[in-house]
């Protein structure tokens, strides 16, 4: 696959060159990581460690700049580690960034491809869309959020989409509803969809996949499994696809959305909820502006 070993280059610092809130609770972070930027392909991810006592957390690479040697990730603050990250600022250095990890997304000329993104996936789906567009597909992108003000990355997506459809739960955009409602809407208007890609929370992946099942549209979903090492050793990200055991980190993150054992994925994902919640009680809560300004 690659001639260089996929590992951390200790000679360089993973400096944050841009840190910005893309939408409430969604952050865009651009990190200096030249080797990763040179190697990355759409659909791949990195695992990073925010600080010395931090844990390893996987993030989809949402864009990269080979010339400047940077990669972009979008993340939501959902736990202690992402809280720490949300409190970092430009110039801060991450302890470690490992990648690119996982298999790249399959890119070919399929015809009409539908891409659905929610939460971090609104940012993460972009490289796949771009590659599909370059491969000559008609690209329809739909993004979902609870409300209009939570949508972001619109300019990027608009630049590669033949059609960009925004849907919101509260109806603050033209379409009220979610990705699965949009799929139905497209099918109703006679659109022929040859392939679908989804990226977002597992719940959204599941219900969106259900929407493409009746038409047997080949559906690829980027699973969110708990991960530790990201190289297939620990087995933490084990999931069941087509009845077979797979590891999201090395066999994925993309799988056939119609073949995933969702219940198992949800159950495994919820396993550490207690510890995750409790961790807040004694780990660095100070996301303090004052501290940052000092």
């Amino acid at each position: 696959m690659t001639d260089e070993p996929v590992c951390q280059d200790t000679s360089q610092a993973f400096r944050i060159v841009k840190m910005k809130a893309a939408a409430p609770n969604i952050y865009e972070m651009v990190i200096e990581a030249p080797i990763i930027a040179r190697k990355v392909e759409p659909g791949q991810f990195v695992i990073l460690i925010p600080d010395e006592t931090g844990e390893r957390v996987p993030f989809t690479i949402s864009d990269w700049d080979t010339d400047n040697g940077t990669i972009t990730i979008f993340f939501q603050e959902t736990g202690v580690s992402t809280m720490k990250m949300a409190c970092m600022k430009e110039g801060d250095v991450l302890v470690s960034v490992v990648g690119p990890l996982g298999k790249p997304a399959e890119i070919e000329k399929y015809g009409t491809v539908f891409l659905g993104g929610g939460c971090y996936g609104i940012g993460g789906i972009f490289p796949i869309a771009r590659a599909l567009k370059e491969a000559g597909n008609k690209v329809i992108i739909s993004i979902e959020a609870r409300s209009k003000y939570l949508l972001y990355n619109l300019e990027n997506l608009g630049s590669v989409a033949d059609e960009l459809i925004m849907s919101t739960s509260d109806g603050s955009t033209e379409h009220k509803g979610k990705i699965h409602n949009i799929i139905q809407m497209l099918l109703d208007r006679g659109e022929k969809i040859d392939r679908a890609h989804f990226m977002g929370c597992n719940f959204m992946l599941m219900i969106s996949s259900e929407a493409t099942r009746p038409q047997k549209i080949p559906t690829r979903v980027a699973l969110n499994a708990l991960m530790v090492d990201g190289t297939g050793m620990c087995g933490c990200c084990r999931c069941t696809v087509e009845g077979k055991t797979k590891y999201a980190c090395v066999d994925g993150p993309e799988f056939d959305g119609h073949q995933v054992d969702w219940d198992e994925l949800f159950a495994r994902g919820a396993h550490y909820l207690g510890d995750e919640s409790i961790a807040y009680q004694f780990y660095g809560q100070r996301s303090c502006k004052m501290d940052m300004d000092d």
């Binding site: 959902t78 609870r146 003000y149 509260d170 509803g177 807040y280 009680q281 809560q285 004052m290």
Partner: protein, 561 residues
């Protein structure tokens, strides 16, 4: 008077809303809170009263003889609906109007742990959203306004709680509880008109402005605008246990929230003698303390200079064997002020059995109003009942000094003691890994006051019960049980159950005169007043400095300096 055609009785001074509530008639409201003075801001409890102009609010209108009240009709419903829609036009409302609400809730049973709440399942108010209750009562499933997100930055600079004024509905509960109940007035309404916000003066942080972080504002907030940062993301609780706090001798009533068998939060108990008010320690620190990774997990015994985890039998065996090597006069027992009556009683029983006369106890201030250890009154009372005058009792420091001089060789302690390392045989029966562990011969992990049943005697002389709330941490056991087993090994009296011990301890306590502080506690808001006058209780538990355990507490204490 008549409400909705129903004859109802009322007491002088009651409001129409109170009378209706007593009569089982629901009138929606958001700004009313039973502990707070009424405010009349949300305009949901508007009713019609014959002979009165317009739509008076039920929450502030006093009930009068022969009043005829209508609580619901088309006009009232229409006002309420419009008011709630107006509120929702700037309060994230996807959780209310989303088509996939039901399915979503089924699959995301636990809220995500987001820093900024944007509606949906991300709201930390969990299952008890007052706003949602009202929405459901009014049957609102769509909001006829374009949603306008205020997009103000979430205030996360302070310890313990976040303030997200994007969710605030300006009910003013926090302002009222801070001013009227806690007597602080840290927060107030600022700016005017549509720009009105709750804030501190000049927008300073709560830390700068002298907030005591009692969390009363968080507890009354009907939305997720104010939320306890460390304890907001567990979702619906499995169980709630009414118990008391063991961090100082006031022993405030708290409700322990338990999920996954763990203590996930502590909130004030409104049925207790502290009337639903707590201090920063009781409100925000206990769950962090109880779940802290610094807890001692296993019984340990020193072998070849290493503390090795062993099973209880072996550990207790080693303790008994070790103690037996020493003369009683070479031994000292240190009883923490924070242990229960049962634990202290067992320690004294063991001392009597073994013949140990050197009992050490951190001295109480003797002042009923001052803060002492969680069971200072009980422990000192038991010592007194056992025949120790205050002069005969040593202090933990005395023990450390005598150990340093070789006068004391074996020490059995239930708290962390500074400089105790010189004791030859040191048994530590404690909650946290402390400095003293490095010279301990045996370490016995103890359950915290949230994990085992026990009783404590508060500063007012009343004995209060602590309940079993969360599952014991790792292999820890209750104090009294450990000491009982040691006593058994010394062929002392066997106490089969906690009940037996409690009965015996109570009998002992009954021998000594009880202090009486009823006068103090009869006032409604005596506890907030107590805190205002004396400051927060000292942040120590069994000799352990809580600021080491709880980072935010450290920030608070340092910020105060």
């Amino acid at each position: 008077m008549k409400i909705d055609g129903k004859d109802v009785e009322f007491k002088e001074g009651q409001t129409v809303l109170e009378v209706a509530t007593d009569a089982g008639i629901y009138i929606p409201t958001l700004c009313v809170h039973k502990d707070l003075p009424n405010f009349g801001a949300c305009r949901l409890c508007l009713v019609k009263i014959e002979g009165m102009r317009g739509f008076p609010p039920a929450c502030t209108t006093p009930a009068k003889d022969d009043m005829v009240v209508t609580t619901e009709d088309d006009e009232l419903r229409s006002i309420r609906r419009n008011v709630v829609e107006l509120l929702l036009s700037e309060h994230p409302n996807a959780c209310i109007v989303c088509d996939d609400k039901k399915l979503c809730e089924q699959y995301r049973a636990c809220p995500m742990k987001a820093g900024q709440i944007t509606g949906c399942q991300l709201c930390p108010n969990k299952e008890i959203c007052d706003l949602r209750e009202v929405v459901e009562y009014l049957g609102i499933d769509k909001v006829d306004f374009e949603f306008e997100y205020r997009d103000v930055e979430v205030e996360r600079c302070d310890p313990f709680f976040d303030r997200d004024y994007n969710l605030c509905i300006l009910c003013g509960r926090c302002v009222r509880v801070c001013k009227d109940i806690r007597g602080m007035g840290v927060i107030a309404f600022t700016k005017r008109g549509h720009e009105t916000r709750i804030n501190t003066s000049f927008g300073k942080t709560h830390l700068e402005i002298g907030c005591r972080f009692c969390g009363a504002c968080v507890d009354v907030c009907p939305t997720g605008a104010l939320s306890a940062r460390g304890t907001k993301w567990h979702g619906k609780l499995d169980s709630e246990v009414q118990t008391v706090c063991g961090l100082c001798n006031i022993n405030c009533g708290i409700v322990a929230g338990v999920k996954w068998g763990k203590l996930v939060e502590t909130t004030p108990d409104h049925d207790s003698y502290t009337n639903g008010q707590l201090c920063v320690l009781g409100r925000f620190c206990i769950s962090g303390m109880v779940n802290h990774p610094l807890r001692i997990r296993y019984p340990q015994v020193r072998k070849d200079d290493w503390l090795i985890p062993v099973d209880w039998e072996e550990a207790l065996g080693a303790v008994v064997e070790g103690l037996k090597k020493y003369e009683p006069r070479e031994m000292a027992f240190i009883i923490s002020q924070d242990v229960s009556n049962e634990a202290a009683f067992m320690m004294l029983q063991l001392a009597a059995k073994v013949g140990v006369e050197k009992i050490a106890l951190a001295p109480s201030s003797g002042d009923q109003k001052a803060y002492d250890g969680g069971n200072a009154f009980g422990v000192s009372g038991l010592c007194q009942a056992a025949g120790y005058t205050p002069d005969e009792l040593m202090t933990p420091e005395d023990v450390a000094r005598m150990a340093g001089r070789g006068k004391i060789k074996a020490v059995y302690t239930t708290q962390d003691v500074v400089n105790i390392d010189d004791a030859e045989f040191l048994v530590i029966q404690d909650v946290y890994n402390s400095h003293s562990l490095k010279s301990a011969a045996a370490v016995l992990p103890v359950q915290s006051f949230m994990e085992s049943e026990a009783s404590v005697t508060s500063f007012d002389g009343v004995t209060r019960e602590m309940k079993h709330a969360s599952e014991p941490y790792a292999r820890s056991r209750p104090d009294w049980e450990i000491t009982r087993d040691i006593l058994k090994a010394f062929e002392g009296q066997d106490y089969a159950s906690l009940g037996d011990v409690r009965a015996a301890a109570d009998a002992e306590l009954a021998k000594v005169a009880k202090p009486d502080a009823q006068g103090t506690t009869s006032e409604l808001n005596w506890f907030p007043k107590h805190i205002r006058e004396l400051g927060d209780p000292p942040s120590k538990y069994r000799g352990m400095d809580l600021t080491v355990l709880i980072d935010d507490l450290r920030v608070l204490k340092e910020g105060r300096k």
